[in-house]
Assembly symmetry: C2
Homo-oligomer: 197 residues x 2
Amino acid sequence: MDSRLKRIPLEIGYYLAGFTDGEGSFNVSFRPRPDYSIPWKVSVSFNVSQKDQIILALFKRYLGCGTLRSRPDGVWYYEVTNLTAVVESVIPFFERFGFLSAKKKRDFSKFKQIVALMQKEAHLTEDGLREILSIREEMNDGGKRRYTYPEILASLSKSSETTRQTPSTDGDDIVRSSWRHEGAVEATSPVALEPDF
Amino acid sequence: MDSRLKRIPLEIGYYLAGFTDGEGSFNVSFRPRPDYSIPWKVSVSFNVSQKDQIILALFKRYLGCGTLRSRPDGVWYYEVTNLTAVVESVIPFFERFGFLSAKKKRDFSKFKQIVALMQKEAHLTEDGLREILSIREEMNDGGKRRYTYPEILASLSKSSETTRQTPSTDGDDIVRSSWRHEGAVEATSPVALEPDF
């Protein structure tokens, strides 16, 4: 086991896993890139939002990655989007502390399958994208998605016909909602990080 | 420490505490009893609702009390309303495993203050009711309440003027919403109760 993971107090680890079971979310997002040969960019993320920033600050501290921001409505938002951080921190943490609900076990398992495909760069091929899409369909009870499975599939077929060759890298990230650009601030204020179990 | 509490595996206890931090609720309800000398009946409850019944079945198993029901919309609802069960099971459990967020620490602390007052039967006196009301104002960020602080206070003053003497016991319980009487069923189907940490 990773040495950082070993240093996480058990009571914190299980508490955060229980909190995540109810409040946390593993997501796979598709964003259109119309001028690229593979016209969708896939991103994975782990996030939790809550009015109280203390729990989210504990996530940031013990996962050792991610960003903590406050929204204008007073809700705090913790998110990990970096694939390496997801692979090296988020997944090992929840493999160590585990989930108890059937729903979260399933979502986490699907999320790991998709991350494993992305590590093999499957998301840069059409077949890989199709596989990721079909696994995502079984996550988060269908969930709210900006683009549906049929929409994305249809655009893939179209793109196969035209086969435009363009670079497949860009620096954009998924933007889930508009608040991030409307006064969101980095969490800088100190919070009590020592739990008093 | 109570022997039942000692038998709760730490990973389950902290997991359920973390889950409760996000999804659980400590409530104090007022229900009108217009014909009584003390015209409000106070009840306390702990509850958690969730689409997945497994976590809620674990609460019922490890707290050793409460009811688990399914609603017509498919959401499961776990609730402890019995004062003795709250005193002997719910409060010791969360004192043992603790909360990390400021919000839940505060709500649980206020809840305990009110339960202690009820153990001294303060809710059967007007002064006691006023004290319980004012503590409740600081719980659940104001929360959704059927009757407001001013409404209840106003009725208390009125009742002081008339001072009708009638028995102060009845068998009713707080009804929070209508679903309980519209096809709610007791949870009888078996669920996997052995977590696989």
